[in-house]
């Protein structure tokens, strides 16, 4: 594919004797809606951690728009357009959503280190942050501290923080994890309305969400990609059936 924006070549990583990522070759084209599934411990989150620079791979390369970013620090990859959300809410507890998103926008603009100018001189960043919160239905929670927010709202804030980076690539690590059924509709709406030009890869256990949004699904088992295809192909694949049905004790 010529319009691949994020790609890996022979990516590998081991924790001691445990190979958590084995020779992963993957490509994410522009505007993709791809999903990554697999049983627990398959190495899905590890792959995201490799892509975002939390872990350094033992071997292999990561390319963003053809440029090697394997050696870049996490914050530098963010600046180049890779944003992520976290499986477990990892937010800034004492900040309000408005403060957090404002900060994310200031960081995107490279103003995060400016220490002698109050937010009054970054008015447009605050306003952009508030507009984003309104878009994600978070305006009513904009001024509460993050720890006070309901879980589902925190999941939305995760996405708001990622979107504030204006990413080219968005990695969603189980965006719906832990969200009560009553609150998940709002979240699904937000995910389905994400800007079309962002390449999105999401990890998800909720197969409803996967088959609803993903155009293409990749299945990982024991750090290895075993099969890739359209939702229809994946649903019919005997290997996948075996992983998900035949050895049911592997996931929970």
């Amino acid at each position: 594919m010529s319009d691949v924006i994020l790609a890996t070549e022979g990516l590998s990583l081991s924790f001691g004797a445990l190979a958590v990522t084995q020779d992963v070759n993957y490509g994410l084209p522009k505007g993709a809606r791809y999903a990554l599934i697999g049983p627990n411990g398959a190495g899905k989150t590890t792959l995201i951690n490799l892509l975002t620079g939390v872990f350094a791979p033992a071997a292999g390369r990561i390319l963003l728009s053809g440029e090697d970013i394997t050696k870049l620090a996490p914050h530098e990859r963010v600046k180049r357009g890779i944003a992520r959300t976290f499986q477990i809410n990892t937010l800034f507890g004492q900040l309000t959503p408005l403060q957090a998103v404002t900060l994310a926008i200031c960081e995107r603009r490279g103003h995060g280190a400016r220490w002698l100018a109050s937010l009054r001189t970054h008015k447009d960043a605050v306003e952009e942050a508030y507009a984003l919160l309104e878009l994600l239905n978070l305006a009513s929670s904009a001024e509460r501290t993050t720890v006070e927010l309901a879980y589902g709202r925190q999941r939305l804030l995760e996405i708001a923080l990622a979107l504030a980076m204006k990413p080219k690539v968005l990695l969603l690590d189980e965006p719906a994890a832990g969200v009560p059924v009553g609150e998940s509709g709002e979240l699904f709406d937000v995910i389905s309305n994400l800007p079309g030009d962002i390449a999105i890869l999401f990890i998800e256990h909720d197969m409803n969400l996967v088959f609803k949004f993903a155009k293409r699904i990749t299945v990982m088992v024991s750090g290895r990609i075993i099969v890739e295809g359209s939702p229809r192909e994946i649903a019919a694949d005997p290997q996948v059936r075996e992983v998900y049905l035949g050895r049911g004790h592997h996931h929970g």
Binding site: H75, F92, Q94, A104, L116, E143
Partner: protein, 336 residues
């Protein structure tokens, strides 16, 4: 600036943009500090000590309260600033303002040099290294008797009048005003920092160091900046103590100084700017009173005060005050 009439702020965005505006209680606080001159003319020396320690606590608040970087050796910068200011004055340049600036810059430079180590450490290791630096400086000052006077302290410090006009009088009037004005200016700087994007990024790092890089925050860079600023501020506080007392005791670099300033900040409340100032006032007034009434047992009283604050007023004096205001508002709201 009395802003009693609240302007209509329509959206949360407007309110956040206006968060840095000056509040009426800030005006009241600073006017109150001036009142000390007339209300307690016999306590001006204590008052200037409070202002200086308050500035020292403010410097630690930026580091600990906002950025979440714990330092058990902040006296290193305080003491370094004190010695720089004292030594300059002793060897012929007694002009206080330039002396203070030089001391602040020197302490800031020391902070900048140390900061790359700080960025890599957390938890206990961070405590040990910050403490170790302070102990090293203490020993160095203790040994270099020819320069620092060692255990006897730096004597013969002579400070010229401020602007060539205002002599440091015995009552401590000049000293208090000098310390107070410097504290006020530094407070304005700290206030600016806290309300800047940089200030937000410090709090983000404090709340979640794992997440901060994921929104593009270069944590190493931020730690270097805040550490340098905090060290410079502590150095300025040290310079003030040297200049207003015209003496530098080896104790400025002691571990007790470092521990005490942390206690003062926690007592007043971290992450609130005013916390350090209130903590300094409460701690030093309590110590002054207790030391007069019970010279042998005064530390017992300080201990009891600390335990009481930790048990009954989480978030220090300011935290307790916050809850009181909220309770009062809720009550007023319910009464309507």
């Amino acid at each position: 600036m009395f802003a009693f009439a609240k302007p209509a702020l329509a959206t949360p965005a407007d309110r956040l943009i206006a968060a840095a505006r000056w509040r009426w209680y800030e005006t009241a606080f600073w006017l109150g500090t001036l009142l000390v001159l007339f209300a307690f003319p016999g306590y001006l020396q204590l008052a200037s000590q409070i202002a200086i320690v308050g500035l020292f606590a403010l410097s630690l608040d930026l580091l600990m309260g906002y950025a979440g970087i714990i330092s058990l050796g902040h006296a290193a910068f305080f003491g370094f600033g004190a010695y720089v200011a004292g030594i300059i004055a002793k060897y012929g340049w007694g002009e206080p303002l330039s002396g203070m600036v030089i001391a602040g810059l020197s302490a800031g430079l020391l902070g900048l040099i140390v900061s790359p180590i700080i960025t890599r450490l957390h938890g206990i290791a961070l405590l040990m290294v910050t403490m170790g630096l302070c102990v090293l400086l203490f020993e160095a000052a203790n040994r270099a008797v020819w320069l620092t006077g060692g255990d006897d302290g730096l004597q013969g410090v002579e400070i010229w009048p401020i602007f060539g006009t205002f002599t440091f009088d015995l009552l401590g009037r000049t000293a208090y005003l000098y310390a107070l004005i410097v504290l006020f200016l530094m407070f304005l700087v700290a206030r600016r920092i806290v309300h800047s994007p940089f200030g937000l990024s410090l709090q983000a790092m404090r709340d979640n160091p794992r997440r901060a890089p994921a929104i593009g925050t270069d944590m190493g860079e931020r730690v270097r900046i805040v550490y340098t600023i905090s060290a410079a501020m502590a150095g300025v506080a040290g310079a003030l103590i040297a200049q207003t007392t015209q003496f530098v005791a080896l104790e400025v670099l002691s571990f007790q100084r470092s521990a005490e300033i942390m206690i003062i900040l926690i007592l007043g409340g971290t992450g609130r700017l005013f916390g350090g100032l209130i903590g300094a006032a409460v701690f030093m007034i309590a110590r002054d009173q207790l030391a007069t009434s019970y010279p042998q047992y005064w530390y017992l009283g300080i201990g009891a005060l600390l335990v009481a604050v930790v048990m009954f007023a989480r978030g220090g004096v300011m935290g307790g005050f916050d809850r009181l205001v909220r309770w009062w508002r809720a009550r007023a709201g319910a009464g309507r």
